[in-house]
């Protein structure tokens, strides 16, 4: 579904949504569930604050990206099928991760290349699933969620969000409305933090070197806080900063928007 079409679809959904229950289902992702639960809670708070009824289906597990990235398609396919079952009846699904959203909207179809019925389910699903910042700007139609956070911050564009989902302005628009927040851009912009899932384990030293290059860029920007909409990027940046003894706050966009 092209970005433009998704926006048109979103407007339509929004109009229809006023007439019915504004219910959203969270797919928090396994990283958030286990390591950064506060991100999930922050996202829920923001959505509830906008008048959405927030659900969490406990049956959820993972999008299958670790297996897919490592070349284990059959295994990834199993996990994808389970995901389709879990979220079969969710009207709208919101995800605090660009990479997980992209896995679902861009790669699930490949996994079911010989199963037309499953591909149809994937197609229907991809109309109902949103990365968090895009959900706010395109579906909820808001940019100001009443957040306040005094800090000098920079925004890190996760590669999947940026290049697969085309997300760049939505998070920045949201951040521009956060009271007290000064947003600076990094140079170089849009460079990979070096996580890459399996890559960070198989090529740990190289991944670490890329993380350090990212830390340098953050430092150059003069920001105290780095914000991302991808928990895996935050894990990578935070981990490298901590190891290097660099004082740097890492926050997910949801946490920033939930700040008062």
């Amino acid at each position: 579904m092209t970005p433009v079409f998704r926006r048109i679809w979103a407007s339509g959904w929004r109009l229809g949504a006023d007439a019915m229950n504004r219910r959203v289902s969270l797919f928090v992702t396994c990283i958030v569930d286990q390591l950064f639960p506060q991100i999930g809670m922050a996202m829920a708070r923001v959505l509830a604050g906008l008048g959405f009824e927030v659900e969490f289906n406990e049956a959820q597990t993972c999008c299958g990206q670790p297996a897919f990235n490592t070349g284990y398609r059959a295994e990834a396919c199993r996990v994808a099928r389970y995901f389709l079952d879990v979220f079969e009846n969710a009207e709208a699904i919101v995800v605090p991760s660009g990479s997980c959203t992209a896995m679902i909207t861009h790669h699930f179809a490949e996994l079911f290349h010989d199963d037309a019925a499953a591909r149809q389910r994937v197609e229907r699903l991809s109309h109902r699933i949103w990365e968090f910042s895009t959900f706010l700007t395109d579906v909820a139609g808001v940019e100001d969620v009443g957040a306040r956070l005094e800090t000098v911050a920079t925004f890190h564009d996760g590669c999947h969000a940026l290049r697969e989902l085309g997300i760049q302005s939505a998070p920045r628009r949201l951040l521009s409305r956060v009271r007290g927040l000064e947003l600076r851009e990094m140079q170089p912009a849009a460079e990979c933090c070096g996580f890459g899932g399996t890559f960070s384990v198989k090529f740990a030293e190289l991944s670490g070197a890329m993380a350090r290059a990212k830390l340098d860029a953050i430092k150059q920007s003069g920001a105290d806080t780095v914000i991302s909409l991808d928990p895996s990027c935050l894990l990578q940046i935070q981990g490298a900063a901590s190891r290097r003894g660099v004082r740097l706050r890492t926050m997910h966009l949801a946490e920033v928007l939930a700040s008062r």
Binding site: M41, E75, R78, C159, E191, T198, K202
Partner: protein, 453 residues
């Protein structure tokens, strides 16, 4: 992971001078490209990419037709086409021609294809002198090194390295000023050009409707290589063929911009045969060697076939955060960077370096800059599935267990809770921890917090 690959990467990361050289040079090339493809400078850049992809797709999908058309047109103009399956056939051809003509000295312009087949080594082994004439390649030839980057072969050398090379190999007083170093190489090579019996070039494009070889360069050495000697041999992979001369209107606009940020390279030559009567200079004999060397193996798979669209601009190398950290010599073959990562396993088999497709964070920067829109990340993922057969039993089991757990949410939650608390410094977790800290496990997971709210 193969020890050699791991070692090369480690060495590259440990060499901070090299790191700086590669990072800075590729950064400049990257910025130069951006300056000439942005919307206000080239408003139809994206459309050109789409056209280029479509033209390459068409040419490759009908490759036999265009190869035959190319051959017919070369022969109409008095040239010859020689099909070669591998490195040996190419060197056999060159050697026998050289022998027949009593040729001793060969000048060469830059060609990754000839690097691929170690042509110089083979020719030298048989007593011919084959001199690289592109400045960077010449310096590397003197230093007995492989090129570091598709477009900027001596990226990793400082002027002091160059001074060392020149002093040692040419027996000249030490000179560290780049302009003077260049002038020295120029005078040495000029003699070679004018005395050479054969000029060997690559080809950026082979034009089917013209029987022409297109050479794109900045120095003028390719022009001299193909003008001064009486014999010109162009050696090119079969995938270089494009249907029509007018297609160059698309490709030429993309090549120089993507490679170096120039609007056009200084010299673009379209050469279609030995000199005609009435033409004063130019070669008397013109040969085009069409090389397979494994390219036909990439054709059957319709997805993988796009690997052959590459026009060797090097933009993917300049955009790649991995290449920019580890440089060209960390890669196992002559083609490095993202394009090298997809070509190497396909040409050499995945067993050559099973970890190569994994040496990427899949950030997608390469696909974004590729002028012919090769979906490199997709092919890397595809190759990772193929590498499956090389994976350890332990890894396979891990993912099978992972997939099973991911379909049973209570067990998944339990297993994840345990895994999040593991801090053993061994295996994958150890690798992770060697570079960064894991956050302390939270007192409550999301599920718990949710239930409690």
């Amino acid at each position: 992971m193969s020890r050699e690959f791991q070692q090369h990467i480690h060495d590259a990361l440990a060499d901070s001078r090299l790191q700086n050289a590669v990072y800075t040079a590729t950064g400049r090339l990257k910025d130069a490209r951006l300056a000439v493809v942005s919307d206000n400078v080239l408003s139809d850049y994206q459309e050109l990419r789409t056209q280029a992809n479509a033209l390459k797709r068409h040419a490759i999908d009908h490759l036999d037709y265009y190869l035959e058309q190319f051959q017919r047109n070369v022969e109409t103009h008095g040239g010859h086409v020689v099909f070669c399956q591998d490195a040996t056939e190419v060197s056999d051809f060159v050697l026998s021609l050289a022998k027949e003509r009593g040729a001793r000295l060969i000048v060469k312009s830059k060609s990754m294809t000839t690097e691929e087949i170690d042509l110089n080594e083979r020719l030298e082994h048989h007593g011919l002198e084959s001199v690289e004439t592109d400045l960077g390649e010449y310096l590397l030839q003197l230093a007995h090194e492989r090129p570091y980057h598709i477009v900027a072969p001596a990226l990793h050398k400082t002027r002091y390295d160059v001074a060392d090379i020149l002093t040692k190999r040419l027996n000249v007083p030490r000179e560290t000023v780049p302009e003077k170093q260049t002038a020295l190489a120029r005078s040495v090579l000029r003699e070679k050009f004018l005395a050479a019996d054969i000029g060997i070039s690559g080809a950026n494009f082979l034009v089917a409707d013209s029987g022409a070889v297109v050479l794109v360069e900045n120095e003028g050495n390719a022009r001299l290589t193909t003008t001064a000697p009486k014999i010109h041999i162009a050696i090119a992979g079969i995938e270089k063929v494009i249907p029509r001369a007018q297609d160059l209107a698309v490709f030429l606009k993309l090549l120089a911009r993507s490679a170096t940020g120039q609007l056009l390279s200084v010299y673009t030559s379209v050469l279609s045969g030995p000199r005609r009567s009435g033409e004063i200079d130019g070669p008397d004999e013109f040969y085009v060697v069409l090389l397979d060397n494994g390219r036909t193996r990439l054709l059957p798979n319709a997805e993988r076939r796009q690997s052959l669209y590459c026009i060797r601009c090097g933009a993917c190398l300049n955009a790649c955060p991995v290449y920019r950290k580890i440089g060209g010599h960390s890669f196992p073959w002559v083609y490095s960077g993202p394009i090298g990562a997809i070509l190497t396993p396909q040409f050499m088999g995945i067993a050559r370096e099973p970890e190569l497709p994994f040496a990427s964070s899949l950030c997608g920067a390469c696909a974004e800059v590729c002028p012919v829109k090769i979906d490199i990340p997709k092919l890397l993922l595809d190759l990772r599935s193929e590498a499956h057969s090389q994976r350890s039993g332990f890894e396979k089991l891990t993912f099978r267990v992972f997939a099973w757990l991911a379909c049973h949410h209570r067990l998944f939650a339990l297993a994840a809770r345990i895994a999040a608390r593991l801090r053993f410094k061994v295996g994958p977790i150890g690798a992770w921890l060697s570079q960064r800290d894991l956050p302390p496990p939270p007192s409550h997971r999301f599920r718990q917090l949710w239930r409690q709210r």
